[in-house]
């Protein structure tokens, strides 16, 4: 039997990527569509059920529109069973928002809740507690899946803390939500803990592949694999300015860094390395030229001024004097020194 394991869609959360207003609305819709995409992929894989390990919504404020959209996705897949664990963000907001709950949706309560599904016991609880695993009732003969939302630590505790050492050996899969990137951890010979991650990144702190976990339970064994499913990926790439002599060199460095990235994705370029004090360029110009190639494009300048005060020892100009004096001052931080020197050079060149 196959099951889909997903979590942390955070539908309704604010977009942290800098997007224009119309794209924010579009991206919000895409978050809801990511759920539909996961369900459709599950159907294509022949999955019989979908485990939602928490944070389907971002908060307790669930708009009717979002709730209805999610409910319709579930209702449109009546052949699949949805096992929903309300997370720490949303609590019971979806269940209590007044939208008709589809019949193929069941949910885990605050205490251990059990569903026997096609020979597999699926247990879960929306609130963690100290010693919670001691009251867990598992199937002695069949497969056992436990669904929780929180982080793994040594001992269980309230507030989303799951004691990995306390997980019974009879558990085949510990399907977890909370972290937004996929990871697996073998807890025992039989037990594997899986964070499926979020199926769609929302901000640049969620780069990399996003998707869901496909669980395959058979008499022969249990397997888990990650299935990429995100419509758009977020990328942070670096462009080294070291050695660049002109603004075009800088642009080329940025362009090379993003060359392989698909147009539908969101990109942030970090300019790094040491730049010459005589190098003139504008991040806005680079953004203007590259932004149209991607869904979202940002550029941040984290490069440092490549300056050696020793090189200016014999420079009798005002610029040289400025560099020597600023470099020698111990009350200024290195960043401040770079910034002051660069500003001074630009000012003397009439380019401030």
């Amino acid at each position: 039997m196959k099951l889909i394991h997903t979590s942390d869609l955070h539908i309704g959360s604010p977009m942290t990527a800098r997007l224009p207003r119309e794209k924010i609305a579009e991206r919000r819709r895409e978050l809801i569509e990511s759920f539909r995409r996961v369900v459709e992929a599950g159907r294509a894989f022949g999955a019989l059920g979908v485990i939602i390990a928490g944070d389907l919504f971002d908060s307790e404020v669930v708009t009717r529109r979002s709730a209805e959209a999610v409910a319709s996705v579930i209702a449109e897949a009546p052949e699949m069973k949805f096992f929903y664990l309300p997370g720490n963000h949303e609590k019971r907001a979806f269940l209590d928002c007044g939208v008709k709950i589809p019949e193929n949706l069941v949910f885990f309560d605050t205490g251990w809740t059990y569903f026997d599904f096609d020979g597999v016991r699926i247990a879960g609880r929306s609130e963690t507690a100290e010693g919670m695993f001691s009251s867990l009732e598992l199937s002695a003969t069949g497969r056992n899946i436990v669904v929780l939302h929180g982080e793994l630590r040594d001992r269980s505790a309230p507030g989303g803390v799951i004691g990995e050492r306390e997980v019974p050996e009879e558990v085949d899969l510990l399907c977890l939500g909370h972290y937004h990137s996929y990871s697996e951890k073998k807890l025992s010979r039989r037990t594997t803990a899986v964070y499926c991650g979020t199926p769609e990144g929302r901000g640049f702190d969620e780069t990399g592949e996003k998707g869901f976990a496909l669980l395959d339970l058979s008499e022969g064994g249990v397997s888990v694999r990650f299935v990429p499913a995100a419509k758009r990926r977020l990328h942070i790439v670096s462009a080294d300015l070291t050695g660049a002599k002109t603004a075009y060199d800088v642009f080329r460095a940025a362009e090379d860094a993003v060359r392989e990235i698909p147009a539908k994705d969101l990109v942030r370029v970090l300019l790094t390395g040491g730049r010459s004090p005589d190098l003139r360029y504008g991040t806005e110009e680079i953004a203007d030229r590259l932004a149209e190639r991607f869904y979202c494009f940002e550029i941040k300048d984290e490069s440092r001024l490549a300056l050696n005060a020793e090189d200016y020892r014999y420079d009798k100009s005002l610029k040289g004097e400025l560099i020597r004096l600023v470099s020698a001052d111990e009350s200024l931080s290195p960043d401040e020194k770079d910034a002051i020197i660069e500003c001074g050079i630009l000012a003397l060149a009439g380019e401030v």
Partner: protein, 743 residues
């Protein structure tokens, strides 16, 4: 660089003035008002021109001051040596700069030179006019002024460094200041304040949206409680409806029972009527055969009586119809029908088939004649070609008989058809007359009516004719009496009304009795079916009408009103929640905007901080740079001071070359000292500055009576210094006093 000679055409009070310079000291001693200051101004004007005529003060406005008092061309020439070459510069000055002229001649080559432009002084000395005044031109008036200016500083930095960026310092600081002011203006304005203000507005809006979350949650709770109310109302409605349905069912049952009662009543009425009718037929209901027999007997009796009473001739009248047969009558009818058809054909021919006479015959005739006449006249009078009109006229005339012939033929044919149809009709009429003549009958227009009359007589004849020949009157009456006896016997069985048609009464009663029985059967069937369909037993009685129906209806209406009101309220709340949630959707954009603004503010604050620090450090760099040559200048100053006085105090010189004296532990600017002392320090500073500025080439130093306030001792020393200086550079010394002569 060295001055050689000058010629003043007109300049201030000087006119047609010439002077030849020598190397070393050139002393020009003349009384006040001679024009010494004018002379020094002329020299400066030859190098730098005269400034634009802007200042109102005559003293400040050189152009106005030096335009010749006596009129004439203002200007002159100056010959000088520079870079190993000899030049002559010629300038004239108008009321405005646009009216000025400049010419430079290379005296060695004897032709105009473009080695220098009209910015001669700047190109030659590397300093502007103001800088020139502050350095090489020492007068009593400007001695104590500030020595530093942009070009002085530039020149000094050029001497110290290899680039001229110290000259960009002021501009750089200005730009930094502008940028800083844009970021942060006084009074809380500026880009940072704008961003912070907008960020604050967003905070307020986000706060409102946050509060709105609570409002939405409250509204959703209201919706929940409204839902509970709606559920309760629905339960109440269901209960009321159930009761109402029970009442309705009961009422319906009663209605059915009432209907059944009515049906049974109707049936019972029929029963009563049937009972009444059965009494009529107490002696037995006659069958139809019996009734027909009685009717036949009555007819027979009447016939017999009629025959017994009828006169003979009335019988014989119909004898002729005894020979008539059904076939003959049919033949008559057929012929009559044919006559009808022939009549119709004739009428049709006469009315509808008449040919129409050709139209417009007269018009064609007239037009044809006109064409012929026209053709003849025009052909005779105008042109023979007009005769051609005669031809169409002839054609038209020929058409007329053709058309008339066709009509006549058609008319003949039509008349012929009518005659034929009439002939046929007459034939039929003759045949009909032959068939009907033997049988007297009334005359009719329509032959079919005649046949009908004949047939009626035929029937009558059949009725009367056969028995009348063989019977006698007594037999007829006896038979009639017998029949009467039978008939009366029959009628006595029933309670009939005397005087009416007894058979009709019996038939009516029988018919009614039949109908009644059938009605009873039908009604019974209906009753049974109705009872079966509605599940009612015939024994059931109508129950009393159920009570509370009105109450229930009223309560249901109230319930519906309440539910409608609740539904409206729910719709309002739902719309409110939708609107609030839509508003919440702007939260993302606001959060993103605020993040961008906060980042922008932080960035701009960093930028502001950097700008302020950059300005500070640029100032320090500049001071550091200038202080590098400041030491040299200060040393030279002390040297010159020592040459002029015995001052042994400590002195400070700032980057604007302003001197301050440390006296009894306190450093005081020299402005606090006497005029003579100030002039002394200023002279030393100026000379030191000139040394610093012009290390490689020695410009002409122009001294316009700078020692006016010196005491004798200092004057002597100053003169000695002047003489020493004259050994290495050209000095032009102007004085009005012999006491201050350097010779």
């Amino acid at each position: 660089m060295k001055l050689l000679s000058l010629h003043i055409e007109n300049f201030g009070r000087l006119s047609d003035f010439d002077y030849r310079f020598s190397s070393g000291l050139n002393e020009i001693r003349a009384e006040n008002g001679y024009g010494k200051t004018t002379l020094s101004a002329f020299i400066k004007a030859m190098f730098y021109g005269l400034p634009d005529n802007r200042k109102r003060d005559l003293f400040e406005n050189e152009r106005s001051r030096y335009l010749p008092w006596q009129g004439g061309v203002c200007g002159g020439s100056l010959t000088f040596e520079a870079g190993g070459k000899r030049y002559r510069v010629e300038r004239t000055f108008g009321q405005k700069v646009a009216g000025d002229t400049f010419t430079l001649y290379d005296l060695d080559l004897g032709r105009p030179s473009d080695d220098y432009t009209e910015n001669l002084g700047r190109e030659l000395f590397g300093i502007d006019a103001d800088g020139y005044e502050r350095t090489v031109f020492l007068s009593e008036r400007n001695l104590s002024g500030k020595n530093e200016n942009q070009t002085v500083a530039e020149k000094l930095s050029d001497l110290v460094g290899s680039t001229g960026d110290i000259g960009a310092y002021d501009e750089a600081v200005k730009r930094i200041e502008e940028k800083r002011r844009a970021l942060q203006k006084k009074g809380g304005a500026g880009e940072i304040a704008d961003d912070q203000k907008r960020s604050g507005q967003i905070d307020v809006t986000l706060g409102e949206l946050k509060a709105l979350e609570g409002v939405i949650a409250d509204d959703k709770n209201v919706m929940k409680s409204l839902q509970s109310e709606a559920d309760a109302l629905e339960r109440e409605r269901a209960e009321l409806e159930k009761k109402r349905q029970a009442v309705l069912r009961e009422e319906q049952k009663n209605a059915i029972r009432r209907q059944l009662d009515t049906m049974m009543e109707n049936r019972n009425r029929e029963f009563a009527r049937a009972a009444e009718l059965s009494r009529f037929f107490a002696s037995g209901e006659p069958e139809e055969e019996e009734l027909s027999a009685i009717t036949a007997k009555e007819s027979e009796r009447q016939r017999l009586t009629n025959r017994a009473n009828a006169p003979p001739k009335s019988r014989g009248e119909y004898d002729v119809f005894r020979d008539l047969s059904e076939e003959t009558i049919a033949r008559m009818r057929s012929v009559a029908s044919e006559i009808r058809k022939a009549d119709a054909r004739v009428a049709d021919l006469k009315e509808k088939s008449a040919p129409k006479p050709p139209k417009a015959g007269a018009a064609l005739l007239a037009f044809g004649i006109l064409l012929i006449l026209l053709g003849a006249v025009l052909g005779a009078l105008l042109h023979p070609a007009c005769f051609a009109l005669i031809l169409p006229g002839l054609i038209l005339l020929l058409l007329l008989p053709i058309r008339g012939g066709r009509y006549q033929k058609a008319k003949g044919e039509w008349e012929s058809a009518i005659r034929e149809a009439e002939r046929v009709r007459q034939e039929k009429a003759d045949v009909f007359a032959a068939l009907t003549r033997p049988y007297p009958h009334p005359a009719c227009d329509d032959p079919c009516d005649e046949v009908n009359a004949i047939e009626r007589r035929y029937d009558l004849a059949r009725m009367m004719g056969e028995d009348a020949r063989s019977e006698n009157e007594e037999q007829l009456r006896a038979e009639a009496a017998r029949l009467t006896e039978e008939i009366e016997r029959f009628y006595r069985r029933f309670p009939l009304n005397p005087g009416g048609d007894r058979m009709a009464q019996i038939r009516r009663a029988k018919s009614e009795y039949d109908l009644c029985r059938r009605t009873i059967d039908r009604m019974q069937g209906d009753i049974d079916r109705f009872a079966a369909e509605n599940g009612v037993s015939l024994k059931d009685k109508t129950a009393p009408a159920p009570s509370g129906g009105e109450d229930l209806a009223e309560k249901l209406r109230e319930n519906q009103t309440a539910r409608l009101a609740l539904e409206r309220r729910r719709a309002e709340i739902a719309a409110k929640i939708r609107s609030e949630e839509e508003r919440m959707e702007e939260r993302d954009a606001l959060i993103a905007e605020k993040a961008a603004l906060d980042e922008s503010v932080a960035g701009k604050k960093r930028e502001l901080n950097i700008l302020q620090k950059t300005k500070y450090w640029l100032e320090r760099a500049k001071e550091s740079l200038t202080s590098k040559y400041l030491d040299g200048t200060k040393k030279a100053f002390l040297g010159y001071l020592a040459a002029i006085s015995d001052e042994s105090a400590d002195f400070e010189m700032d980057t604007s070359f302003t001197v301050a004296k440390t006296d009894r532990g306190a450093t005081r600017p020299v402005e606090g000292y006497s005029l003579g002392t100030r002039d002394l320090y200023a002279l030393a500073a100026r000379l030191a500055l000139v040394d610093s500025l012009y290390r490689e080439e020695s410009p002409v130093i122009l001294l316009d009576d700078p020692f006016a306030h010196f005491d004798d001792e200092k004057l002597a020393r100053a003169i000695r210094l002047l003489q020493d200086l004259a050994k290495s550079r050209q000095i032009i010394y102007l004085t009005c006093s012999s006491a201050r002569s350097a010779k």
